[in-house]
């Protein structure tokens, strides 16, 4: 649970707080649940809210310019995939990734996936996580983080392109362990 929260918040202390608060809330309400399963779902729901709260807190102390500085490297890497006419460079053209279901069943894939998530710059990663893991829509994210819709789309595109590139290199094109 802490590892999960830390991945979203990019801050160990905040992650520990979020998990602790979620567990404390669960203990308070323990009598209300008949089964362990219902309670686990509930705890996870609380944790989700705590994580979104934590990211909101962090965003208040993050100037918008931090995103730009954060991500210069990613943008350069992305630009390098294209020729001058903005079409794919032949060696960088995305290749087919095969059967997604099969990939998601492979244990090794998840290690690469988490490493690639960790490699995203912190601010970019938080926006991406809110969208894809916490499933907030972009309007909510813009409001929570006080960024423009345009900026939000740029950050998400950057995150997806980076994650895509990392997975291609780390898993789909690389030597897979047997």
């Amino acid at each position: 649970m802490i590892a999960f929260a830390r991945m979203q918040l990019r801050d160990t202390a905040l992650a520990e707080d979020a998990v602790q608060e979620a567990l404390a809330a669960a203990l308070d309400g323990i009598d209300r649940f008949s089964g362990a399963s219902a309670m686990k779902t509930w705890v996870f729901g609380i944790l989700r809210n705590k994580i979104v709260d934590g990211i909101r807190q962090q965003a208040r102390s993050t100037p918008a310019s931090a995103f730009a500085a954060d991500d210069e490297g990613l943008d350069q890497a992305f630009e390098a995939l294209f020729k001058e006419n903005a079409h794919w460079h032949p060696v960088a053209r995305p290749a087919a990734w095969g059967d997604p279901e099969e990939t998601l069943r492979e244990k090794g894939f998840w290690a690469v996936f988490e490493t690639c998530l960790e490699h995203l710059p912190a601010n970019t990663a938080r926006v991406f996580m809110l969208r894809e893991v916490m499933e907030l829509d972009t309007d909510e994210i813009c409001a929570e983080l006080e960024i423009s819709a345009g900026n939000c789309h740029v950050i998400l595109h950057r995150a997806r392109a980076a994650l895509r590139g990392c997975l291609e290199q780390g898993w789909f094109a690389g030597e897979k362990p047997c």
Partner: protein, 66 residues
């Protein structure tokens, strides 16, 4: 004619908002002739699927089922 770079921006935004008619037509025309961008488009859908599956995995691991 849309460039591949512009197409990737639309394919990312398609995950977050409904594209306008003009955008959809431009993108479809581009995808019809660009295998690299068709792969990119499938990979955007894959990323979403993987993130959802990752969350499910986290839940299950906590439950000690796997």
């Amino acid at each position: 004619m849309l460039s591949c770079k512009e197409a990737t921006r639309l394919m990312s935004q398609a995950q977050d908002r409904n594209l306008g008619l003009a955008e959809r037509v431009q993108l479809e025309m581009h995808l019809a002739i660009c295998k690299g961008c068709r792969n990119f488009s499938e990979q955007m859908a894959f990323l979403r699927k993987a993130c959802r599956a990752w969350l499910d995995r986290e839940r299950r691991l906590r439950d000690g089922e796997s």
